[in-house]
């Protein structure tokens, strides 16, 4: 099982990412310990130079992390013929207990890495490294998660025993079995539709309030996170069926397949980008009073808010378009 090119590639990238993050957090710890902006010592100078290296490394980590998230799901999907009863990624992720937690962890690390880059960008706007301690503390939070992800991924792939009978997506994401996924599906469709559109409209309103009048930054950010979760639930609950044109098919992974024109990549990317940008607004809120950031931070937050609103709107537009013009009429 192990010697599949896709699995080897994922292993390689996990190892590289872990190595980079370990190195970065080691340097980060040094910075947290010895950083003194007022000093002109050799150590301080070296640390200031190192911050460039760390930003570069983390920038690449984020991009690789995004690639590997999609490669992972695609590989899980490609593995399904090896497991009797599995019909798509859901089946192969269900083969052992590591599959689904791994996907969730990958999404969390992606979001955190995105937030880190936003803080880093804000930090670079000020001449006196105003957010340096915050960003390296966040890095120390991110690093263990990425390491855990690497280990979990190894456990998942090494624990794959082909031929195990697993439940296919038809039975996990259908109404009559137990579990979180099944509960999402069995939520009444009408109320889920209301919740989804209400959440999107609410987020949009908060976003506009923030963009135009610079108010409710925290509220907007919280709404973005909440809507992120609601959108995923809504996708499983009622949006998916219009894409598959099958009232019983709720799988969140099948949409990544060729049959649906790879539209799933576009949808998930919009959600992820919107989520990172919107949460970034909230993360930056506490730093608006810092003298060296006073000028630049609000406009940067506005741009983030705009990016996030546009991404969510596009997501909603594509979903709504499909709901209206799908051959499936409910």
């Amino acid at each position: 099982m192990f010697f599949k090119p896709g699995i080897l590639a994922l292993f390689l990238s996990s190892l590289l990412i872990s190595g980079m993050v370990l190195y970065a957090s080691f340097t980060g710890a040094l910075i947290l310990r010895y950083w003194d902006i007022k000093s002109g010592s050799e150590t301080q100078l070296r640390l200031e130079r190192k911050t460039y290296l760390i930003s570069t490394i983390l920038g690449y980590v984020l991009v690789f992390q995004l690639f590997s998230l999609f490669l992972f799901i695609y590989t899980a999907d490609a593995l399904h013929p090896f497991f009797t009863g599995a019909m798509c990624a859901v089946g192969s992720l269900n083969v052992n207990q590591w599959g689904f937690p791994l996907v969730v962890l990958k999404i969390i690390t992606f979001l955190l890495a995105g937030l880190w880059l936003i803080i880093n960008f804000a930090d670079n706007q000020g001449y006196d490294y105003p957010l340096i301690k915050v960003k390296y503390l966040l890095l120390l939070v991110l690093a263990p998660l990425i390491l855990a992800e690497t280990i979990m991924q190894a456990k998942y792939f090494l624990g794959l025993r082909p031929e195990v009978i697993t439940s296919c997506c038809g039975s996990v994401f259908s109404g009559d079995t137990a579990g979180v996924a099944a509960e999402i599906v069995s939520l009444p469709r009408a109320s889920m539709e209301v919740v989804f559109y209400a959440a999107m409209l609410g987020t949009l309103a908060l976003g506009m309030a923030f963009y135009r009048r610079d108010r409710m930054g925290y509220g907007f950010s919280a709404a973005i996170l909440l809507t992120f979760l609601i959108a995923i639930a809504a996708f499983i609950s009622f949006i998916s069926i219009y894409f598959y044109e099958l009232p019983t098919h709720h799988c969140p992974f099948c949409i990544l397949q060729k049959e649906y024109g790879y539209i799933g990549y576009c949808l998930y990317l919009l959600l992820l980008v919107g989520g990172v940008a919107g949460m970034g607004v909230g993360v930056l809120m506490p730093f608006r009073q810092i003298p060296s950031l006073k000028e630049t931070l609000p406009s940067m937050q506005r741009r983030l808010a705009l990016t996030s609103i546009i991404s969510y709107l596009l997501f909603t537009a594509i979903a709504t378009y499909q709901i209206i013009f799908s051959n499936l009429k409910m």
């Binding site: 099982m1 192990f2 010697f3 599949k4 090119p5 896709g6 699995i7 080897l8 590639a9 994922l10 390689l12 990238s13 590289l16 190595g19 980079m20 130079r49 460039y52 290296l53 570069t56 490394i57 690449y60 690789f64 690639f67 590997s68 999609f70 490669l71 695609y74 490609a78 013929p81 090896f82 009797t84 670079n124 082909p162």
Partner: protein, 378 residues
Amino acid sequence: MIKAIDKQRYILDFTLSSLWRRKGKNLALVLVYTLVVFVLGSVMFFTQALKNEAALVLRGSPEIIVQKMVAGRHDLIPVSHGAQIGKIRGVKAVKARFWGYYYDPGAQANYTLMVPEDLPLKDQEIIVGAGISRVRRLFRGSSIVFRTYDGKPATFFIKGVLSPDSELLSSDLILISVPGFTRVFGVPPDRATDLTVQVANRKEIPTIAAKIVDALPDTRAITREEILRTYDAVFDWRGGIMIAILAGAVLAFLIFAWDKAAGLSAEEKREIGILKAIGWETADVLEMKFWEGLVVSLSSFFLGIILAYGHIFYASATLFEPVLKGWAVLYPEFRLTPFISGYQIAILFFFTVIPYTVATIIPSWRAATIDPDAVMRT
């Protein structure tokens, strides 16, 4: 926004001209990089193409094959078993198959003899595959003599040659009539090589296979999915092993890339020093290095992929055919159906571009943090 794009354009512009100024060094890098992508890409395209061929072939194969086992070995199956299987609900049809291998000392090769299901042949007529026709110079109307199981000669006339299009499958194939088959191999009249079972509903295949094994404990039932899965696993495994072996080459390439990126010439150092002296910031130099990496990586990556594609699908994978395909005397001559997917490209990207990028981060940063006055003074 426009300003930011313009800035990146100028940096890219500068990067391209600076790459061109050091053609020798950069072309050497691109060459090695392309070679690495080419080799890995060839392995991946080749295994995928073989998997596709197998899948195409198996699409037409029977849903279940039932074979009799004696002492753990495949044995001839009583034709009467077929009637029993036919009674299982959901079975559409059961057919007896006759096939076997015949060693021909003249060609020093094994032929596959098979009785076709729906092609009536007279007792002494056979149809041969293109490979046999080539090796034994057999054409329509000529004859061939087989040595039967009891040592007697049996003459057969060639009714036709199979089309070379199906050569991957039929290179060593001989189609023969049931009486002819019985005469060559001496198979008892109530026995067949195995039975094929057609199932109307795909979803019932595993259940029916289980019922067959239950009703006839001395048999094994092989489903089409199982065969397909096994082919997939075997080809993937071969490809994976090749890639693991090639990891050494990738590592060597990474060391080479690191070395190239770290070993800045005095002239390059001066250049970066001057850039910084006239107002470039560390971040700008890092951006320049990013574009440099992107240009080198993408050119080599796509060049390598195009070459690998040509190698596999137009030059029939000349370089490592014997390793990945296996070998035989009557080896079919065939051209693989071109196939390439985003997934393969993504994997290839993970094997080459990502490690390359990682290997050059630290050298780029070192170059970008050069002290302008220190460089210009030397």
